[in-house]
């Protein structure tokens, strides 16, 4: 038992503070409003209903011949207009590196999501009181969506919670919204996952180290508790 006590005390020195941070961030996740934590307060649901049945559509085979080889071609809508999205390189998930080309489905001409188009898409996705006051293109990772690996437009709105709308530059896909509430929740996720380099992951060395220390702490504590119980030291005195 002496060693169990020593283990427990040393483990508490190593991981005690982090354990408290895990619990405090944990209770925050338990109590938080998930809509707020996901930055969705001003996120409008976009519902394109107009079916595209039109003689003016260029045949996909012609579009394919005019472009780089594609894994897939999809008829999509951007701001209510039909486009073909060609996928040249397909990753397992949209946030990973994918290679796309957008083509106007009426003219077969290439189409780029520029600042104006990104702003228009963002406006449709946003139903808050703010107006756009800044637009920025991120070519490297973005702190709000650390897993996103493709270039992304960030459209800032001037509301009180600092909403930003993120649009993938190569596809026009809405990655998501972020605001003060999400950024606060992200701080708690960072603390819980010990993700201080903001990789959006809990599989990191420091977390592994402290997880082992936490195992020592709780297992030694568990044995200690059983020992106290067996010795009959859990007594209610009157």
């Amino acid at each position: 038992m002496k060693w169990i006590r020593i283990f427990h005390k040393w483990a508490s020195i190593v991981v005690g503070i982090q354990f408290l941070l895990w619990l405090l961030s944990g209770i925050y996740f338990n109590l938080m409003d998930t809509t707020k934590a996901k930055g969705r307060i001003y996120q409008a649901s976009i519902n394109y209903k107009r079916p595209i049945v039109d003689d003016r559509l260029v045949e996909p085979s012609i579009v394919l011949l005019k472009n780089q080889p594609s894994v897939a071609i999809e008829l999509i809508q951007i701001l209510g207009e039909p486009f073909y999205m060609l996928t040249h390189e397909k990753a397992l998930y949209p946030h990973l590196k994918n290679k796309y080309t957008l083509v106007d489905a009426y003219t077969a001409k290439g189409f780029l999501i520029n600042e104006q188009v990104a702003a228009e898409i963002a406006k449709i996705s946003y139903n808050g009181p703010g107006e756009i006051f800044n637009i920025r293109l991120h070519n490297s990772t973005i702190p709000d969506f650390p897993k996103q690996q493709n270039p992304t437009w960030e459209i800032y709105f001037d509301d009180v919670i600092d909403t930003s709308v993120f649009i993938e530059a190569s596809s026009g896909r809405i990655i998501g919204h972020s605001d003060g509430h999400k950024r606060l929740a992200d701080i708690f996720f960072m603390l819980h996952f010990m993700d201080y380099s903001n990789n959006g992951s809990f599989n990191n060395i420091q977390n592994m180290f402290f997880a082992i220390a936490a195992l020592w702490l709780t297992l030694s504590g568990f044995i200690w508790t059983i020992h106290i119980g067996l010795k009959g030291n859990y007594k209610i005195r009157h």
């Binding site: 005390k9 508490s12 020195i13 005690g16 503070i17 354990f19 408290l20 895990w22 619990l23 405090l24 944990g26 209770i27 996740f29 338990n30 109590l31 938080m32 998930t34 079916p51 049945v53 003689d55 559509l57 045949e59 996909p60 085979s61 012609i62 394919l64 011949l65 080889p69 594609s70 894994v71 897939a72 071609i73 999809e74 008829l75 390189e89 397909k90 990753a91 397992l92 992951s201 809990f202 599989n203 977390n207 592994m208 997880a211 082992i212 936490a214 195992l215 702490l217 709780t218 297992l219 504590g221 568990f222 508790t225 106290i228 119980g229 859990y234």
Partner: protein, 260 residues
């Protein structure tokens, strides 16, 4: 004055330490087991790479290119045959160029898979096609069993992708691949490590029903008392490291001796 103050601090310190010990001892009798569960499940989740858990290494992400000459069945013909077709995409299925689209009917959306050469309907895909796809889109070993799931999906499969073929492999981690019967698309990849992860997560957030609702009241109550337990433990750690009571005790003795 100093002696008095030191003595007071000393007794206060002793009281705090004693109270912390008592709180810690009693709280842990009731919630200590959850501390063990948190650290065991947390360690599992931290150590297994999340991409591996998601089964990314089970599948092969082929980059088969569409040959435009294979498209004998044009989009305009498709629209005349299926005027309500929506979400239309062309890609490959087992190296064959195919159309996939959805038709919204009164009884819900219906998915289609057509051969882009002839326009022939390929859905619903047969068992042998599903097995062929399972081999082509993975490098897994022998197929152990095949099940068509039309309702009551297992917890590891999203009900929205039904009907689906479940292909179970005789391979490391008992992997299962799921292919949509209507589109032939890979709609699920699961193995023992995912299934374990799912259990671990449920135990971690104390959610024993369906879904992973972390906002449950049980978790709140236990975490609330866990914070008390943790703080009382940290107070003891503080006394262990800084030993203010011991310091005060020695200085008190020293001062007393000097006075006498």
């Amino acid at each position: 004055m100093t002696i008095k103050r030191n003595l007071k601090q000393y007794t206060n310190g002793k009281k705090v330490l004693k109270a912390s010990r008592k709180i810690h001892k009693w709280l842990m009798l009731f919630i200590g087991i959850q501390f063990v569960i948190w650290s065991v499940t947390g360690t599992y989740m931290v150590f297994f790479d999340i991409d591996y858990i998601h089964g990314d290494s089970l599948v092969v992400n082929h980059q088969d290119k569409i040959n435009p000459d294979d498209i004998g069945y044009s989009l305009s013909t498709l629209f005349s045959d299926y005027p309500n077709a929506d979400n239309i995409r062309l890609s490959t299925f087992l190296q064959q160029t195919v159309y996939r689209f959805v038709v919204n009917t009164e009884s819900g959306p219906v998915q289609f898979l057509l051969d882009a050469g002839s326009g022939k309907k390929l859905s619903p895909i047969t068992e042998s096609k599903a097995i062929e796809a399972a081999h082509y889109y993975s490098k897994l070993g022998n197929v152990k069993s095949v099940v068509l799931i039309t309702d009551n999906p297992p917890f590891e499969l999203n009900p929205r992708v039904l009907p689906a073929w479940r292909i179970n492999f005789d391979d490391f981690g008992a992997p299962s691949l799921y292919f949509s019967q209507s589109t032939g698309e890979l709609v699920g990849k699961r193995h023992t490590f995912w299934r374990l992860f799912d259990w671990m997560f449920r135990f971690h957030v104390m959610e024993y029903k369906d879904g992973g609702d972390i906002g449950n009241w049980l978790l709140f109550v236990v975490t609330f008392f866990a914070i008390l337990g943790c703080v009382s433990g940290l107070i003891m750690t503080y006394f262990l490291l800084v030993r203010p009571t011991k310091k005060l005790a020695t200085s008190h003795k020293k001062i007393s001796r000097d006075v006498i």
